[in-house]
């Protein structure tokens, strides 16, 4: 850890680009955190109906101009930065962690990982129980407007049955010799098929389906994005695992008595970091402005949620309002550039370290 810190300090002293981007990113984060206490003239949803589509640098009241409802572009950019970065980072972080884990495990163990039949049976039964009590019944309650009590009861019953399965039934099953035999668990095939299924469902279809149940909230949107974004890191991790599994040092590591987990963590993961990080940063970039494309497709987000996408999509009311695209787009570009440069140097650092 100290080595890393020293390296960062070294970078800071030698590379002016790194210094600049780090200052920018830290400044941005500080700014975002201080946003609630800052003395801004407007709130992001405050309208000035006398001055709609005000051009920038004309009025001192609205330095960056206003949008179709007279909302201040500058204030919206600041709040949009906060909301957008929060969503993008959380979504990308979670989906990258989930995706890389699943992909690495699938790629490493392949289709030959052995588990006992009793365990397999219990796992399948648990999945079915959760699907019925945790998904189907609550859905029915929501759709048919039944009392909430029904939903709670089913959830409790579901958890109770799963508990019984794991702690009472499973030990019993172990005694039967037939169920104690080991079968190979097709982790890789299962993961691949799931990825194929998820990626064949167009994101648009999922979004419209969910919108047909309830108006999309920020939370639902995040869940959908995590559900659809985890596949790329998973594929990347799996492919890399497949490759390094063949390398001679894996056998050496195994013969040295290292555990599977250690091998994956120490040998596998460092190799996949660089494509995953690139994917991460581009994911952040695409999420930051995705709302504008969503609203283009007619999927409404809460219209009171300030975001860069909301400001950008104002261009559809008036194509000559260039400032609605240039300012948020510019900020987006600078932020992305900073993230890229930062990650570039940090990656270089890790790669140099590995060589040593």
């Amino acid at each position: 850890m100290r080595v890393l810190l020293n390296n960062v300090i070294h970078l800071w002293q030698t590379r002016w680009a790194f210094k600049l981007t780090l200052i920018y990113l830290l400044g941005l984060i500080l700014f975002i955190l201080l946003l609630p206490v800052m003395p801004l003239a407007y709130t992001p949803n405050q309208m000035d109906l006398q001055h709609t589509f005000l051009e920038p640098f004309v009025s001192t009241a609205h330095l960056f101009g206003t949008d179709q409802l007279g909302r201040d572009v500058l204030v919206n950019i600041l709040y949009g930065a906060r909301n957008g970065l929060a969503i993008a980072f959380i979504v990308m972080l979670l989906s990258t962690i989930v995706g890389t884990t699943i992909g690495a495990v699938a790629g490493y163990f392949g289709n030959t990982y052995k588990i006992s039949r009793s365990l397999l049976l219990v796992i399948i039964a648990t999945v079915a129980i959760i699907a019925y009590y945790g998904l189907y019944l609550p859905m029915q309650v929501k759709l048919q407007d039944l009392p909430v009590r029904v939903g709670y009861t089913s959830a409790i019953v579901g958890v109770a049955i799963s508990f019984i399965l794991w702690f009472a039934v499973r030990p019993l099953l172990r005694r039967a010799s037939f169920l104690n035999k080991h079968v190979s668990f097709p982790a890789d095939a299962l993961t691949l098929r799931t990825i194929e299924l998820v990626t064949s469902l167009p994101k648009l279809l999922i979004l419209i389906s969910v919108a047909a149940f309830a108006p999309p909230s920020v939370f639902i949107l995040c869940v959908i994005f995590i559900f659809t974004y985890w596949t790329t890191p998973a594929r990347l991790a799996r492919a890399e695992m497949l490759r390094i599994k063949q390398l001679p040092y894996m056998e050496a590591a195994l013969s040295l008595g290292l555990k599977h987990r250690q091998i994956i963590l120490t040998q596998g993961l460092p190799n996949i970091i660089s494509p995953v990080v690139v994917n991460f940063i581009f994911g952040v970039g695409s999420l930051l402005a995705i709302e504008s494309t969503l609203s283009f497709l007619g999927i409404g987000l809460p219209p009171t949620f300030p975001s860069w996408g909301r400001t950008i999509s104002g261009i559809r009311s008036d194509l000559s309002a260039w400032w609605l695209v240039v300012f948020p787009g510019g900020f987006l570009a600078i932020t992305l550039l900073a993230l890229h440069i930062c990650s570039f140097y940090l990656l270089q650092l890790t790669q140099e370290k590995r060589k040593v």
Partner: protein
């Protein structure tokens, strides 16, 4: 190799069947049915059709399109006021058997004869509709993919070669700026720049050409359509270039630091030879993954392209049929995407094997 390929394809069939079934059942979870708007009289200054008449007509539509049938062979009895208010019988799942008269059975039997059914809205065979729409999307997507790939390769390799550092300082930021344009803004910008009499009137603004009575020979028609494809393809290339180039570049830059590349350098090979003979192969691995993953995302991107440039394609067909709940078309499109996806994964696996011979032994 051939045996592996054959095995892989053979294995794909049951998997595809499971996937298709899941897609079919998932699609029916979409709330709403086709033709629901019959129930909704046009709001206006007079009524057209009483409520009962509308309900009857709607019922007739459901029966004509088989939408009133149960979705699957087995169904769960839905919850209702009666079995939740007093007792707890709902806690035990109650299955009902529907027999062969269900939507899934009818659909699969039609599928086995090669038919994806007929559109509810226009009674046209879904195969024909998808075929028509997919042709345009296919050309736009594949041409733009190939162009993007080539450009990304050229840019990526030139950035790691010799004077690349200086080049990189210009290209990478430029790509990131390009990437920070939302896709639809990029398309609008292209339109406003290159199809606008006030700016540059280079390309037609929309569509795929007009009816030209008289000369309708195949080749001439295609040639005439060419200008209509330029802007959409340009937009897709510009939109996908940053991501691909970056992935390619980082992957290449990573391999360039490996031991064997040093050895290659030490052998006295020129930097160009080192890249093309040694580094490129390894760097291609993640790119293959990304490419095969990008196909459905491209279809989503195609929606924006097709809406803005008014090109009939699979994305627009999907949106209109989802909004109208034209289930046979929705399922048909998703099945086709799944099929393409499946094939692309097979191709990707083969590519892995070709690029990295060590994987070949792992004939799963």
């Amino acid at each position: 190799m051939l045996r592996y390929l054959f095995k892989r394809l053979l294995l794909a069939i049951p998997v595809l069947w499971v996937m298709v079934s899941v897609i079919f059942i998932l699609s029916r979870i979409l709330p709403g049915t086709f033709g629901e708007q019959i129930l909704l009289a046009d709001e206006g200054f007079y009524g057209n059709g009483a409520k009962q008449e509308r309900a009857l007509a709607y019922q007739q539509l459901l029966e004509r399109t088989n939408q009133q049938l149960p979705v699957f062979y087995v169904g769960l009895t839905p919850l209702s006021e009666s079995n939740t208010s007093q007792n707890y019988s709902y806690l035990l799942p109650q299955f009902t058997w529907h027999g062969a008269q269900n939507q899934y059975h009818l659909w699969v039997s039609a599928l086995l004869t090669g038919s994806l059914g007929e559109s509810f809205a226009s009674a046209r065979p879904v195969n024909a509709m998808i075929g028509e729409a997919a042709a345009n999307t296919f050309w736009i997507l594949s041409i733009s993919m190939v162009l993007t790939m080539l450009l990304a390769l050229v840019l990526g390799t030139s950035m790691v070669l010799g004077k690349g550092i200086r080049l990189r300082r210009i290209i990478l930021p430029a790509l990131i700026v390009l990437d920070s344009f939302p896709f639809f803004v990029l398309c609008l910008l292209m339109l406003l720049l290159f199809a606008n009499p006030d700016m540059l009137q280079l390309f037609p603004a929309f569509g795929l050409g007009f009816l030209a009575p008289g000369h309708e020979s195949g080749f001439l028609q295609t040639l005439q359509q060419f200008p209509y494809f330029v802007l959409p393809i340009l937009c897709l290339v510009l939109a996908n270039l940053p991501y691909l180039t970056n992935q390619f570049y980082t992957s290449l830059a990573g391999t360039m630091q490996a031991e064997y590349i040093r050895t290659a350098h030490a052998k006295g090979l020129t930097p160009f030879q080192v890249v093309t003979h040694h580094a490129l192969r390894n760097a291609l691995l993640p790119v293959i993954t990304i490419l095969s993953d990008m196909i459905p995302a491209l279809v989503a991107g195609a929606v924006v392209i097709e809406v803005i440039f008014a090109i009939p394609g699979i994305g627009r067909l999907l949106v209109t049929s989802v909004l109208a709940r034209d289930f046979p078309v929705i399922v048909g499109i998703v099945v086709v995407i799944a099929l393409v996806k499946m094939l692309s994964h097979v191709v990707a696996d083969i590519c892995y094997a070709l690029v990295d011979p060590r994987i070949k032994q792992d004939a799963r």
